[in-house]
Point group: C2
Chain length 426, copies 2
């Protein structure tokens, strides 16, 4: 397609999505759940065919010389397909929040005023690599009564097309409009530029991918963006605290997995706990090959450990998301300095305190300006499933609309309902 | 100031607001309420001096040939000052929602997860004309624990400066940072361009004013905008309905005041009710000099009325916000056509149904895609005070974040709190 054709094509997708969104908004819960269960069945019935389509993408990726981790992210094996199917079934069993009315109260005038939860309308999703995001986004869109326009990465186009066909089949089986979930069928980048600039059709854009992609979309979008930039998360070990718990949690927060956005990249330690805590966690990190980038005080305590990779931290380290076996380590005076450091350097994603002091815990919860704040828990818990949202469409590091893991609720809005008996304004 | 100086000046306001916002976010409810009560007292104590400052603006406005309604909007009389003072006192008596934790539930892993209501941070407000908006915005900002940067219209600069001085005095008296509310002291338009493009300091922009202002700001802002465009509101008179109630409500919705955004601009009538209802409401409108722009069916019923100003409606009329003694009138088949017409032509602000049919009421509430949907009440109720919000910073016709009247809650965000006992992710 040339640029003009792409503009027309994306425009048509937008119009179709808008029309479908009105039907989705009033669809019964039972019918949406029927579509989700049909999708789960179709995924299982077509698992072999999906794997074959995915093989085409994998072949192309290997031929193009993509790195092994990239190829791995692209893989849609039988196990991943089963996980997608289970996710759809789980969503089907969750309560439907559309139409729920909250806070209905009578006012002085006699009218009763409350708020009704309604779908946002149409969301556009731009994502890279992992084809199972197609199913996650489609199923959340169906459950939340929205329409979605999905734009996956060019490397996964065959997989995504095959998955989108099944989604539309499931919608049709349930009696819902097929255009409620549409995949952008061209890999031309021009299509993204169009998709993010149609406020008449698209209510919000959700990008998922590298920082470059998200920054570009935020800059160019003409509609609101639910965006997730860095995950520079911290664990702060307070004085007083349970040192054994602190070691266990700081270990998990850094080493359970290195690549997720909710892994801790910075470790802060209260001066009063440093001499007891740092040698213990240092031994754990040393055994796992985690490099420690330290301020002078932490370095003095950690450098003597056998096998520890200890190097001085630079100013740059405090704001870096490593996504690797590296952690920055700093000794602070106490909870005040910890909060100040986090509010200055963290990416406002997730930060945790390990403490036994109630007042410190309360202050940390209240004053740390991050999407998730935790007491005595691993930052790795910052996740839609772990928070009981059923699924997540993304994690927002913004404060506006949705913050932190975004589930079905983040894809909805509240409109006001007023129930009267002929009241007029005086 | 030249452009470079303005850039530096607005940048400094942003940095100061950011610093102040951290202090406001953790301020005790009692201290914020003390500032609000101090502001009420200062407004009353300085009412004469404020009126004198306001007189300078009025003089300049009259000399510049501003229209009488414009001059009137600019006027800050003793009564308006007392209303501002009462508003501050009312906010001081309202519960503080900052720090409130909702939905705390234990998850499978053992962690307890909930959401804490927190201020958004810094909001920028750009408004025209009415200087009392300075006090409304300042008091809502204080109560919600945010910092605000206010940019009023150049025509009200002396009044706004005097009001802002009192706000900062009240903040200081209560022990809060004076920079929690700052007024942009230059009337140069360049300052607005800067204010709306500082995502590092300003979290959201709230424009209040004409459609031109709001469209320009939405187009150029680099941060989210809570925007309010048209108020093309409808009253739909259903079949069956209580005709006497329908006449009373449709009268109030159009004629109680012509200029507010929540006045009805369109009247839809079910065919089965038209012959009884239209002559009655037509007589009321005729007596009040309201012009009726009608489709053919409505015209046939209304034209014979003595003194009625009845003209044929054009396609343009269905989407017009008159803000004047004019209303469009259309006969529809029933609730289906009414919903379709409203979703096509309304500005998604406020729409009402007058009905005695439960199913029609439910369908209207659910399917009309507007910020406020009403049953048997006047659209004129769409207002923060009438909804029990205490005050409103504006009315949003967006779906994202806040929809409809925006009170304190719309100036807040929810962050996740996780309370653990040393849990780690497996």
């Amino acid at each position: 397609m040339n640029a003009l054709n792409i503009a027309e094509y994306v425009h048509a997708l937008g119009l179709q999505a808008k029309v479908a969104s009105a039907l989705m908004a009033r669809a019964d819960a039972a019918i949406k759940n029927r579509a989700l269960k049909a999708l789960a069945r179709l995924l299982r019935d077509n698992a072999q065919a999906l794997a074959a389509d995915n093989a085409k993408d994998l072949e192309r990726a290997i031929a193009a010389g993509l790195s092994a981790p990239m190829v791995d992210r692209l893989r849609l094996g039988l196990k991943a397909i089963e996980t997608c199917a289970l996710g759809c079934e789980q969503l089907a069993t969750m309560p439907d929040i559309i139409g729920e009315v909250v806070g209905l109260k009578q006012q002085e005038s006699g009218i009763r005023v409350g708020q009704m939860r309604v779908p946002i309308g149409v969301f556009g999703m731009v994502f890279e690599s992992r084809p199972n995001v197609t199913i996650e986004a489609a199923s959340l869109s169906i459950k939340s009564g929205n329409a979605a326009i999905l734009r996956g990465g060019s490397e996964a186009i065959e997989s995504n097309k095959a998955l989108a066909r099944l989604v539309q089949q499931a919608l049709a089986e349930a009696g819902l409009p097929q255009n409620a979930v549409q995949l952008v069928q061209t890999t031309d980048r021009e299509a993204v530029g169009r998709l993010i600039a149609m406020p008449e059709y698209v209510d919000v854009i959700i990008p998922r991918g590298g920082k470059g992609l998200i920054e570009r979309i935020s800059r160019e979008a003409k509609v609101p963006v639910i965006k997730h930039l860095d995950g520079n998360c911290h664990t702060y070990v307070d004085d007083p605290c349970d040192i054994a718990m602190a070691v266990k949690v700081a270990d998990n927060a850094k080493t359970q997995k290195y690549s997720p956005c909710n892994a801790s990249e910075g470790l802060l330690v209260a001066r009063g706990a440093a001499a007891r805590f740092l040698p213990q966690i240092g031994a754990v990190y040393a055994a796992k090959g985690v490099e420690m980038r330290c301020d002078a005080e932490a370095q003095a305590l950690l450098a003597p450990l056998a096998g520890a990779q200890v190097v001085p931290a630079t100013e740059q380290d405090w704001s870096t998301e490593y996504l690797a076996p590296i952690i920055s380590v700093k000794v602070v005076a106490g909870v005040d300095e910890a909060i100040a450091h986090i509010n200055r350097y963290s990416s406002h994603h997730t930060d945790a305190i390990i403490t036994t002091d109630h007042r410190h815990a309360q202050r940390f919860l209240r004053e740390v300006d991050s999407a998730s704040v935790m007491v005595n828990a691993s930052t790795r818990f910052a996740d839609g499933f772990e928070y009981g949202l059923g699924a997540e469409i993304g994690i927002s590091t913004d404060k506006f609309h949705a913050r932190g893991p975004v589930g079905i609720e983040g894809l909805t809005s509240l409109k006001w309902v007023v129930l009267g008996n002929g009241e007029v304004r005086g």
